[in-house]
Symmetry: C2
Subunit: 91 residues, 2 copies
């Protein structure tokens, strides 16, 4: 049971931190035209619902991981809106 | 309790289908240079661990949703490798 919990923690950890490199890449390159806005908006909606679910069942790991993912996903949405306005299309 | 389950189903549904627009966008534009490879590799690892977790606790919704997400995330990784090789950098 210990190793099962550990797998769950690692699963949550990796799926949460995964969004950091995307936000960093967009912020550094100041370009996000290949990133799908629909993906991040739909994903944010899903994560928001997970957050409500976590708050309702009072599950701290669900609340915390989804809070972090929601902040990262919404940051990506904001960066995309910002950089899509200013980016130069070369094609 | 019914509405709580419903929130969980919708949360799972949105976080699963969210990856479809990204895969479609990359496939259509044949470009993924703004998409972070690290994000999709780390995310795939997390989803793979969720899948193992789901199989261990024998939870069909966890197994099914993570199977679909894993297929979509790995498809995105393959498309990125493919198009990053052939894309022309305009900067």
């Amino acid at each position: 049971m210990f190793s099962l919990k550990l797998i769950g923690y690692f699963a949550g950890f990796f799926s949460t931190i995964a969004f950091i490199p995307q936000v960093y890449k967009t912020w550094k390159s100041k370009s996000a035209k290949d990133v799908s806005m629909h993906m991040f908006v739909i994903f944010s909606l899903g994560v928001f619902l997970w957050l409500i679910y976590g708050i309702t069942v009072n599950d701290l790991p669900i609340i915390l991981t989804n809070c972090v993912i929601l902040v990262l996903a919404l940051t990506q949405v904001i960066l995309k809106i910002k950089y899509d306005k200013t980016s130069v299309n070369c094609r």
